[in-house]
């Protein structure tokens, strides 16, 4: 029903247009020639409108008079393509971020006294940006002592509080014994080393690597 309505609507508009154009025609002997061409145009428009209704393939005989249908198909296809491309890109970015996070966890596992429990990687996702795909920021979540972190075999490992470390060099030199060592918390130099390692591994600025305690 909609197709017939659209067909009648199109034919009415075409005929009104033809009448409107006929008013423009000069009064001389050329009028009948122009009218003939306009009549042919109306014939084509009507046949094409009917052809669209009955799904008749007229494209081999006639270059498209009406372009609305084609334009809609093309725009829909472009829109769908853009959506698919965006989804694929989003998935690729997520996989890339996940892969980098796993790499960082493996890399930081060397630092036994600052266990990294989670890594949040943010990559430039806008494809229009010049630095598309580059790492914007890495956030390392370090477990504080006393927390439980998942072990390799699935068991939870409780992190014990490290005792403060003090090195008494003067007394040791006087007495001739080895200096006494006491632990301090938090180990800022170790965290700094962790940041330097991650930043250096991915060629980032140290400000781009952040450490948060959980």
């Amino acid at each position: 029903m909609d197709a017939i309505r659209s067909l009648v609507q199109n034919i009415i508009i075409i005929l009104i247009l033809a009448l409107f154009l006929e008013m423009f025609l000069p009064q001389g002997g050329l009028k009948k020639y122009v009218k003939m061409v306009m009549g042919l145009l109306v014939v084509i428009a009507v046949i094409q409108a009917i052809g669209t209704l009955v799904q008749w393939d007229y494209s081999s005989e006639l270059s498209a008079l009406t372009t609305e249908g084609d334009r809609m198909q093309v725009s829909e296809a472009i829109e769908a393509g853009k959506k698919m491309s965006g989804n694929q890109q989003q998935k690729a970015i997520e996989q890339y971020e996940g892969g980098i996070a796993r790499q960082i966890i493996a890399l930081t596992s060397l630092y036994q006294d600052t266990p990294v429990v989670d890594v949040d990687v943010r990559v430039q996702a806008g494809s229009d940006e010049p630095d598309f795909g580059q790492i914007k920021e890495i956030v390392l979540y370090v477990a504080q002592t006393g927390d439980t972190v998942p072990g390799e075999d699935g068991d939870n490992i409780t992190l014990e509080q490290i005792k403060p470390v003090t090195i008494n060099v003067e007394n040791a030199a006087e007495s001739g014994v080895e200096p006494a060592v006491e632990t301090t918390e938090p180990p800022r130099d170790v965290v700094s080393g962790l940041v330097k390692t991650v930043a250096g591994f991915y060629s980032l600025e140290q400000q781009q690597v952040k450490v948060r305690y959980r």
């Binding site: 199109n10 508009i13 075409i14 009104i16 247009l17 409107f20 154009l21 423009f24 025609l25 000069p26 009064q27 001389g28 002997g29 050329l30 009028k31 020639y33 122009v34 003939m36 061409v37 306009m38 042919l40 145009l41 014939v43 084509i44 428009a45 046949i47 007229y58 005989e61 006639l62 270059s63 498209a64 008079l65 009406t66 372009t67 609305e68 249908g69």
Partner: protein, 128 residues
């Protein structure tokens, strides 16, 4: 009122041409051309608004603008040829006027050939 201006220009040009024609017929033709060009320039701005309406109607009917362009070109050719042919007739050169009209007819047919061929092919295919 544009129409008053146009009528005034037309009347003044007519009076001048009638006066001048008896003394200098060659200047009368030039005056006629000048009056025609001035009147055309006065309505040129209005034509663009009509063209906008026609284009809007065509796009609402989903008609390809290539076809509309062909039709508008044909109308333009017809107008220019009529204008030139009338000036030639006013100057007493009826043969040149008919040559201009012949050229315009050929140009119109050249522009209409793709449409004519398309309709013919389609009709031949429709016949079983």
């Amino acid at each position: 009122m544009d129409v008053l201006q146009i009528v005034a220009i037309g009347l003044i040009a007519t009076v001048l041409i009638v006066v001048v024609r008896s003394q200098r017929p060659e200047l009368a033709v030039l005056l006629s051309v000048a009056a025609g060009v001035i009147i055309f320039l006065l309505v040129l701005g209005k034509i663009s608004s009509i063209m906008d309406v026609i284009k809007e109607l065509a796009s609402s009917a989903g008609i390809n603008m290539v076809y509309m362009g062909t039709i508008l070109k044909i109308i333009g050719i017809a107008y220019i040829a009529e204008f030139g042919a009338q000036i030639c007739r006013d100057a007493g050169e009826g043969t040149i006027a008919s040559k201009i009209e012949l050229a315009a007819k050929i140009l119109i047919m050249v522009l209409a050939v793709p449409i004519v061929v398309a309709v013919l092919t389609m009709l031949i295919k429709l016949v079983p």
